[in-house]
Structures are given as C-alpha cells and as structure tokens.
Symmetry: C2
C-alpha cells in the first residue's frame, strides 16, 4: 500500500516537536488537486512555494525532490487533495536558534465534500466579523500562521453557508477564509489587491491569465462590501473548489452569469493549467 | 532517566502531522523558568493559558493534569526552561473540520546563554524595521502564530544586541521580539497597552503588581520611539530573563537606575511569585 503521509520522504505521520512549523508557524503550505492522475497546476504551486521560501528566508527543497516525493504518494489516484508543508526545520528553543534543513510534510487527503452542484448553481456565503490584520511582510504568502482564518471560520456553523468573506480594518474585502474573490461589473473583472493581507491563490492567477487571453479587462483594486454586493456577478476560487459562482450574500441573489460561465469553461478546457 | 519531552503525557518527541498546531498555528504556549526545583509563577502561567484557551475556543486541559505532567519532567532540576504548548488538537484538513481533544506538548530545555551580567550591567538593544500588525482578536495572547517575531529576529545577527523592539503601523512601540518593555519617566512606570498586538507577559503583570505595592505609579499607554529614547530608565521583562535593564539603544545610553534596581530586588525577594 502506498503511504498517505511522508515526512522528509519517509512514510510517517510524526513531526519532531522541535520543528518550527509547530513552534512558530514558521513555514508555508500548498494545497493541490490530484485529478485524473495529475496534480493540477503543479508548476504554479511549486513556483509560489519557492517565492514564499525566498521571502521568508527558508531554503527551498527543490522542484525535483518535491516532485519525486509527490510521486511516492501515488499520482495514479483520481480525485484527492495533496497538501505540502515546508517549514524552516527543527531548532533549539528561541527565534534566533540555528536551524538545520527545512522539513517537508506531504499528505494525501480525500476529496472534500462540497455543497451539491456548487460549481453550476453557485454557493451562499456570508461576511465574517473578524477583520484581517495588515502585514505587508506576509501578505500574499500561504504561510502557516492561520489563526485569523481559524477564528473567522468559527463564526458560523450553518452548513448552507459555503464560505465567509473577510475584510481588513479599512473595511475592504480581501478574500474568503479559504478562497480568493472576484467581482464582475460592466463586463470587467476586479479582485482585491493583496499587498497588505490575503493569499495569492494559484487559481486567482489562472483566472487573471484567462481573462487577459479572452480580452476581458481585469484589475486588482480596493473593493468595499458595497462593491461586492452591487457586482453583476461574483465568484470564488481556490485550487480545490476551482471556481464557485456566488448565488447569495446577505439579501443579494445572483444566478451564475455569462462571464463567470465563460471563465469556468476556459479553466475546465485547459487541463495543462 | 526522566523524559525531556512529553506529548499528551507520554515520553515522545513525535507530533501527529494532522495536529492543528502545525497546520495552522492553532494553539498557545507558555515558557516557564524552573529554578531551585520550582516552576516560577506557575499559577500565573496556567491562568494565562486558560484565558487564552477561552478566547480561542480551545478546551483547557486543566491545572491538575498540566501540573502532573510538569512533575513528570522532574522539577528537582535547578535552572531549566519548561515550554508548554497546547493546541486545538488533530483534525482532518480544513479550518472547519471537527477536532478531538487538545494536544499537550511539554519540553524541558537547558537554561539559555544570555549576555554576561545582563541583569546588573544591562543590555544593548535595537529597533526592528518590521511593524507588528494590529489584530485585537489575538492581541495579548501567547499564540503559536509567531512569524512576525521570526522575521523581526532575523533582522540582526550581532550577538552584542540582546533584543529588538517592535513598533506597530502607527509607530508606537509594542514589545520586544521575546519581551515586554517598560519605560520610567519622572519616577513613574509606563508600558505599552497591548490591545492591538503583543503578548501580555507574566513578568509584565508581576512588575505592574510590584509597582502598585511599592506605591509607584504605573500606566499602560501608547509609547513612541522618542518616548522610549527619552526615558530616564528602560527595561525589558520576560519569564526567563527576568528583568533586564537597557544600557544602550541607538545613540542613547543608560546605567541601571534606582527604580529599575528596586523592582529587580522586589522580584528576586518574592520567590512565591
């Protein structure tokens, strides 16, 4: 049987408690869709991880090593989630303690249960009360300090609500707890700029690229809650859910719109993304 | 031989990689001084941990269990550091996944090497460039999301610099990377209010209590970099270092002052703190 979890390339579920991933959240992660025996957008995920390592000063383990370890998990599987964590490694106590090699954790997870027909009928979402903090030094990174997202996701239990949108202290919408957000107004895409907080999702980049290829205007900008509520179309993205149209937010309702459907089709038709 | 690390009460260094302490930094920690066979200020540490658990919605493991596990590490030791981590526990992938029991990690560490004579001669410190983010939902907590401190501590390698002070986005001084900060002006103590960021240290509370008992005015307030540089006396606190007078910051130099020495003596003379 194939291992479902690898720690530094070895079948194991055990992390050294001295690892700075536990001690400080000192690391990064990627969550990847394994579909039809292929990790979708693998190169984008690894490129983002490498950039994140550079920003945090963590040694990047290298594409070849990470690809070989992903292959150990068994990419013949259709419909699973691969989560890859890279931490700065284990060290003695204290922020300044010398660190050895970075730690790699690879996990194979079952495909999550999502709201039925989310992709075609759309999802209901909410605004969260928690405000994301501004931290330019970490903005855009998919790092392991995720307590804000944990607290935001604890704000609701209603399973009919698929996602919560987070605002920053200025009241600008940044992202969902696990997704990026796009609004469409007068045929143009707008998505929050992520210079102060939020994660630059791989599918966010993919959508922006497809929009560009389709000749659709797309900008990164400040977006208020009212901008979101007044959008002609609204959708969420992440690497696992793909693209979810939003059908309800507060008292506003939408049907999946024409540009949302064109982008969905473009993403589905580009398996090499 | 006594174990040096316990995970859920069992001698082990292995954490389940599914633990949310690794996955999200979803937990809290305490760093305690073990001196003369006693954990100093144990009740304060446990009380803070319990309050932190309440704020994050993590089940508090209970004083009795934690004290019994600390005893397993061997409190006859003189001069060691006990680090206690409590996480929300292991769960399936995703912020909203159901969680089992909280995880307890207890580690016994050697007493750290500090600058010679730091307590009596004082230490040289610096200002860090990184600005702490404002997050009232997490302010004051000793939680596991410590990437800001990791990045700030990476700003300098000069071993003559014992600590770095962190400001928030408004330019107010909040704390050191591992310590709280107190300024003395005209015989009165002032320490940053920690409603937006920073950790409410146990020794910070102890110092405020001693100041009150000594009839010394003490306030929590906004403090600028200039307030710090113009202070008559300046000192740092944490549970391991105790109280460190500051002798140098930028072009300002101090000798340990009279109120700093009185507070040092009061803390030393109160072993039951």
């Amino acid at each position: 049987m194939r291992p479902r979890t690898l720690v530094n390339g070895v079948a194991s579920r055990a992390l050294d408690v001295a690892d700075r991933g536990l001690q400080f959240g000192d690391g990064l992660f990627e969550t990847m869709a394994l579909i039809g025996g292929r990790v979708r957008r693998l190169e984008m995920h690894l490129a983002r991880l490498r950039r994140g390592c550079e920003r945090l000063g963590i040694e990047y383990p290298g594409d070849d090593l990470l690809k070989a370890e992903i292959a150990q998990l068994g990419t013949e599987i259709d419909g699973a989630v691969i989560k890859l964590i890279v931490t700065r490694g284990a060290s003695a106590r204290g922020y300044a303690a010398p660190v050895g090699a970075p730690t790699r954790v690879l996990e194979l997870h079952p495909w999550p249960e999502h709201p039925a027909d989310a992709t075609h009928a759309g999802v209901a979402i909410r605004f969260c009360d928690l405000r994301l903090s501004d931290q330019p030094a970490l903005a855009g990174l998919k790092h392991l300090n995720r307590l804000e997202q944990v607290l935001a996701r604890r704000e609701w239990q209603d399973q009919a609500i698929a996602e919560g949108l987070l605002c920053d202290a200025r009241g600008h919408v940044v992202c969902g707890t696990m997704s990026n957000v796009f609004a469409i107004r007068e045929g143009k895409l707008v998505t929050p700029s992520l210079d102060r907080s939020g994660v630059r999702g791989t599918l966010r980049e993919t959508v922006l690229r497809h929009a560009s290829a389709m000749g659709v205007g797309a900008t990164e900008a400040d977006i208020s809650r009212n901008d979101v509520l007044r959008a002609d179309e609204l959708f969420l993205t992440n690497a696992i859910i793909g693209l979810w149209p939003v059908r309800q937010l507060e008292d506003r309702q939408w049907s999946p719109g024409p540009l949302t459907r064109r982008l969905l089709a473009a993403i589905d038709a580009a398996p090499s993304d």
